[in-house]
Amino acid sequence: MALSIVHRATGIALYVGTLLLVWWLVAAASGPAAYANVQAFTGSIIGRLIVFGYTWALMHHMLSGIRHFVWDLGYGFKANEREALTWGAAIGGIVLTVLIWIIAYMIGGGR
């Protein structure tokens, strides 16, 4: 599995995506009009796709990172353990992302 490069790619995506987080926080501090602009963007189809992608990148990077952490501690090096950790991170990232968005839609009512 070539998951290490995905870990890097998601890391770089999250790095660039912090611009969106900065925009959101600065807009919240700036006032209603600026905040409405952010909401208009994150509410659009493209905006939702980007935030959905960002959610997945974050969840995948976190689980993949925990996998690296397990290795740092000196565990999980057997072939079957490596496979289990890798698949766990890959599938877990998707499951968590979908779960978060289901909860978000239930709370936000599609907002």
């Binding site: 770089i12 611009l19 600065v26 807009a27 952490f69």
Partner: protein, 134 residues
């Protein structure tokens, strides 16, 4: 043993001075901080997700009220500091792996530092302004 490279007399042996510094000559501090900030963010992930969920569908006044409250602001500040630090180290590792031209590497690492610090400072300033009720 020569002391040509040590103008001031030191009680430390040459081996002692380089031990634990590794090939990058900077030791393992970045490795450690990368893990430290990672664990911090894992611990903060659920509170941060809860905060974001609380903000869904609210306008600026509602967002200001939530983000400006003390526990939320502290959690957000911790998360911002951990993530900015983490991404600065991570991007530096990527740069060091792929950029082999020394000058370009230097410029890239500088740009990485500027970007990460700017992201952190802008976010921190926004949170503090939301908290202060200005």
């Amino acid at each position: 043993m020569s002391t040509a490279d040590t103008p001031k007399r030191s009680m430390r042996t040459p081996l002692g001075r380089v031990r634990n510094l590794g090939a990058a000559h900077s030791g393992t501090s970045d490795f450690w901080r990368q893990r430290l900030t990672a664990v911090a963010m894992v611990l903060l992930m659920i509170p941060v997700l809860v905060i974001i969920m609380m903000l869904l569908g609210r306008n600026q006044a509602g967002a200001k009220q939530i983000l400006g409250s003390l526990p939320v602001a502290i959690i957000m500040l911790l998360f911002i500091i951990a993530s900015a630090w983490h991404m600065k180290i991570g991007m530096q590792v990527v740069i060091e792996d792929y950029v082999h031209n020394e000058k370009l590497k230097l410029v890239s690492i500088m740009a990485n530092n500027f970007f990460s610090i700017a992201v952190a400072l802008a976010s921190i300033y926004a949170i503090l302004q939301l908290s202060s009720g200005v």
